[in-house]
Amino acid sequence: MNYSDFFQMIPEASLVAILIILFVADFVSANTEERKWFNPLACVLMLVNTIVCLLPMEAVTAFGGMYVTSTAVNVMKAILSLGTFIVVLQSRVWAAKSGKEGEFYMLIVSTLLGMNMMMSAGNFLMFFLGLEMASVPMACAIAFDKYRNNSAEAAAKFIITATFSSGVMLYGISFIYAAYGTMYFSDIAASLQATPLTVMGLVFFFSGLGFKISLVPFHFWTADTYQGAPTTVTGYLSVISKGAAAFTLLSILFHVFGGMIAYWHVLMMIVIALSITIANLFAIRQSELKRFMAFSSISQAGYIMLATLGNDWNTSIASLSYYVLIYVVANMAVFTIISVVEQNNGGKTEISDYDGFYKTNPRLSFLMTLAMFSLGGIPPFAGMFSKFFVFMAGVKGADITTTEGAWIYGILFVALINTVISLYYYLQIVKAMYINHSDNPMPTFKSDCNTKFALAICTTGIVLFGVCSFVYEWIAAAV
């Protein structure tokens, strides 16, 4: 083993360094007075990490092909690191109240580390280790409010279903190993054949990642877990975890199962249509905001995966990365607002609690509206552009005169119809805030400066990432 390979894992090394610094800082700061510096420290570290990820890095292969990166992976790592930075930024008050900031930040960072490993794996074993490395701290984070029943229940459901899905996925990986005698992505891709064994391996493996991305029919845990978990963790779960898994799935589909594109296109078509439609049907009926956002995130996952319907790796990965970036800013804006409202009003998260919110907190309502518009894909906000680009990636190479091409266009049409439906429920929130009358709306409150800063970043993203085309151009050029 060549130890110098460690030096090539810069983003991971940076995260490990952060973990160690946080650990030591946690160790030496005993009282509340000293802990005041904890959140700024974590923020600065995550910001540094984001900048590190943005540095131009070569594509590397290390440890005999176990660890493989490409420029696309580096872009995604930077996006996820930015998302984590926003999560850390907005979590200050909540984490300080819990008195266990150290644990929380370490859990979050180790999850990110696991995801980074998963995204840059070159081998199924490495991939699986990365996945689990992300899962276990995630479950801990979900159970962070451990004396609150909901949180514990959410974590239990998450860990049980995650274990179950891991089992199914391992089963699928074992099929693949049985068929090809290797776990290396490149070796499998070289000798890939569409045998029934491979197909079973593919679908079983897919279900494991489908669970992470919460695609229908692997999504059932999502609503319960999102609702029960602390809001900050839900935010993290809904964007970072999902983005990493979606990226990995696309990457493996193209790079390992590239020879079976016709088969997994069918698979993805079914799952996308189901995810978008069924999630929308559920979302319409939700009265609890976090649960509502859970279904919204399932439907968004379906949109993200539209990128897999293309046959051009560069377009697909660029549009997926861009979608995740926009989704990070829009969803984090929503969850930041939910979180700050929850903290200032004794845990109110029902949609009806937001009646008349505009009268008392006009600025937050306005930002929430922008985020909802972006999620619903209303121009000129970034969400419209991200949807446009995944649609574009989806039809790339699709020829409407062939059966498959016609199906792809059909799926895009279904997605389009669902955009209209999704608009309805996103606007429900806006309606509650602006139009619905309430006798005692939530009192006016002031949010802390960290939250304000996080919201400022998110809003900038929502407003500018779409119209400033160089954001997409940059991603497309970088991948």
Partner: protein, 674 residues
């Protein structure tokens, strides 16, 4: 060398943002001061740019291209087309990209100067105009919405500058729409007034309707030609693409059609008949706005557009379309001049005069049939020249009328009369404007207008005589306006006890007037053909060397007749001849007063034809079919949502069952494909 050029777009944009977002928090004069200072900087930058563009000797690079110029000209004797920057904003396909850029060509540099000069003057002038005054005309405070006014003005300036430096037709369209929005906002500036709101809506809808054709034209053009670029000298591949389209018999129709559709958009903005109906009503906006937008800059966007496309018109088989433009414009010029002879509202009179003068410019473009200056391309230079001089003296006239309105408090001629005693400076400036627009030597209008008439004679003598007639009418209606305002029966003197005594406006208002008046006197002596001509080569304007042709003598004669007629009819205290004519020909007079009922024709057309035969069926379709579909969708969604509710039971065992069932089912489906 022009690296700073992005600031020309960025500064007004920033000022609009700052004034728009934070304006209400700052004191009114501060907001105005910020806007005006910024415009002053822009004005200086434009002059600097123009100076360097036209007179630089040496070498400079822009976008990787090196230009070796002597006195601004390349070795081939033409001014270079300098693309300062060109950023890809949206990529439609490999070849078709939407760029935002900044391009300097002779006409865009000229427009930069025109826009910033007038805009700067208007910014200063508005300090005096947009103010509340007491009985003695003493300044009390700046008007409500002063900050908003300056924010809009900045926004408009940015949009107009973006339009004239556009590197492609899509960018032009984008800024085209932006100036439309700014115009809408400024016409409706006094939004509590119903008439202002109606006028702003009318302007927006009419121009927007015309812009639809512009967009369709752009779509045709880009679909077949495969690019949004229109500048032949900036994009060497464009000639090949256009030739391919023009020579293919199946697509030969594309370029003329697309260009004419684009012109319809231009006709909307430039108020050509029958789309002129919005411009007179647009006078509901504050008068400085009328001067800036509805006289000098935005309304000539259509002329600018045709001029930008001019080489394509000539070289790729659209000369006939160019001549259609000339006929439409010639009719408009006559029609508007006829209406202008009878208006009671001085601003509306000026508005019709503007329509007539813009039509002049379009006639000049339309009568061209070749690129060469002396063999059929003279009109291009003449048109741009007139655009330049007209912008100056028409802005001057509007600002004068604004000064009068501030003092009189009304737009109607009945409340004026005899003002020359009370407002000497305004009187002099207005008179200079009138002489300039009438085409009297040696004022600005004489040179530019006579170039236009000469170009018309080159094309067809009939059109030449016609335009000479219209220029006589111009002199008549302008001097009529002048006399009814400044001479004749004085409204104040009829009852001096109870009526306010008029007086001269403050310096902040007459300063810009004097500045523009000086330009109006001398602008004709600019060797304009040296800078702007169809070929790009230097062209002589013979009039400037006292080579008066017979055309010029006839024009002068027409102007003299018009002025004398106006003097005879309107100079005395009572206007017996005018009253008698009005009584003798009541039908004609009433028709002219009502703008020959064109507004009513549109009213009839929209209400009785469009609404009844299109809107009502479409409304039905919308309510029944489209809404029905969506209601069905909503109902179906609700029902389906209700019925699948039990799936999400909260029981983890069920989740596992669904999970494994789903996996197996998917596996089976895929296995079936093998």
């Amino acid at each position: 060398m022009f690296d700073y050029a992005f600031l020309i777009l960025l500064l007004p944009f920033l000022s609009a943002i700052v004034l728009g977002l934070a304006g209400m928090k700052m004191p009114r004069p501060v907001a105005g001061f910020i806007g005006t200072t910024m415009l002053g900087v822009l004005f200086a930058m434009s002059l600097y740019t123009a100076y360097h563009y036209f007179f630089y000797t040496g070498e400079y690079t822009a976008m990787g291209q090196t230009f070796n110029v002597v006195d601004g000209r390349l070795a081939s004797g033409v001014y270079p087309t300098v693309t300062v920057f060109n950023i890809t904003w949206l990529k439609f396909s490999e070849f078709l990209t939407f760029n935002i850029g900044f391009r300097l060509s002779p006409i865009s540099v000229m427009m930069l100067v025109v826009i910033t000069t007038i805009s700067f003057m208007v910014h200063i002038y508005s300090f005096g105009y947009m103010a509340e005054r007491d009985e003695k005309y003493k300044f009390e405070e700046y008007e409500h919405g002063f900050q908003r006014f300056y924010a809009y003005l900045s926004m408009f300036t940015m949009s107009m500058l973006g339009l004239v430096v556009a590197t492609n037709v899509f960018q032009m369209y984008l800024f085209w729409e932006l100036v439309g929005v700014c115009s809408y906002l400024l016409i409706g500036f006094y939004y509590p007034k119903h008439t202002a709101v109606h006028a702003s809506k009318k302007a927006f809808i009419v121009t927007r309707f015309a812009d639809l054709f512009f967009l369709i034209g752009i779509l045709f053009f880009s679909f077949y030609v495969g690019t949004f670029n229109y500048d032949l000298s900036a994009d060497p591949s464009l000639v090949g693409k256009l030739t391919a389209v023009a020579t293919n018999p199946n697509t030969a129709w594309v370029i003329p059609t697309a260009l004419f559709l684009m012109f319809i958009g231009g006709a909307g903005k430039s108020a050509m008949f029958p789309l002129h109906i919005w411009l007179p009503d647009a006078m509901e906006g504050p008068t400085p706005v009328s001067a800036l937008i509805h006289a000098a800059t935005m309304v000539v966007a259509g002329v600018f557009q045709v001029a930008s496309m001019f080489p394509i018109y000539i070289k790729f088989g659209a000369v006939e379309q160019l001549h259609w433009i000339a006929y439409i414009a010639a009719f408009t010029a006559f029609y508007a001049a006829a209406v202008a002879c009878c208006q009671r509202d001085i601003k509306r009179g000026l508005a019709f005069s503007t329509i007539s003068q813009i039509a002049y410019m379009l006639v000049a473009l339309g009568v061209c049939f070749a690129i060469e200056n002396e063999e059929g391309g003279l009109g291009y230079m003449a048109s741009m020249f007139h655009l330049f001089t007209h912008a100056m003296f028409k802005a001057l006239l509007f600002l004068c009328s604004g000064a009068i309105i501030v003092i009189i408090g009304s737009n109607f001629k009945e409340y004026m009369g005899g003002l020359h005693k009370y407002m000497p400076i305004t009187n002099a400036c207005f008179l200079i404007g009138c002489i300039a627009i009438s085409g009297v030597w040696p004022f600005a209008g004489f040179f530019s207008k006579d170039e236009i008439v000469s170009a018309c004679f080159q094309f067809s003598p009939a059109l030449g005589w016609f335009m000479t007639l219209v220029s006589g009418m111009t002199a008549f209606y302008m001097f009529r306006l002048y006399y009814v305002i400044f001479w004749g029966k004085s409204y104040y003197e009829e009852d001096p006890e109870n009526r306010r005594k008029p007086q001269e406006v403050p310096f902040v208002m007459w300063g810009p007037l004097v500045f523009l008046a000086i330009i109006s006197i001398f602008a004709g002596w600019i060797p304009f053909g040296h800078f702007v001509s169809a070929t790009g080569q230097s062209a002589e304007i013979h009039l400037q060397h006292f080579h008066f042709s017979s055309v010029a003598w006839f024009s002068l004669l027409a102007a003299a007749i018009g002025i004398s007629l106006a003097t005879w009819m309107y100079m005395p205290k009572n206007n017996p001849v005018a009253d008698m004519l009005a009584k003798r020909m009541p039908v004609m007079h009433k028709a002219a007063l009502n703008r020959f009922y064109i507004d009513n024709v549109w009213q009839f057309f929209t209400h009785k034809v469009v609404f009844r035969f299109f809107s009502i069926p479409i409304a039905w379709f919308d309510r029944q079919v489209i809404d029905g579909t969506f209601n069905f969708l909503a109902w179906g969604t609700q029902e389906a949502g209700e019925s699948i509710r039990p799936w999400q039971s909260g029981d983890v065992r069920h989740y596992a069952i669904w999970f494994i069932t789903g996996t197996v089912a998917l596996t089976l489906v895929i296995l079936c494909l093998i």
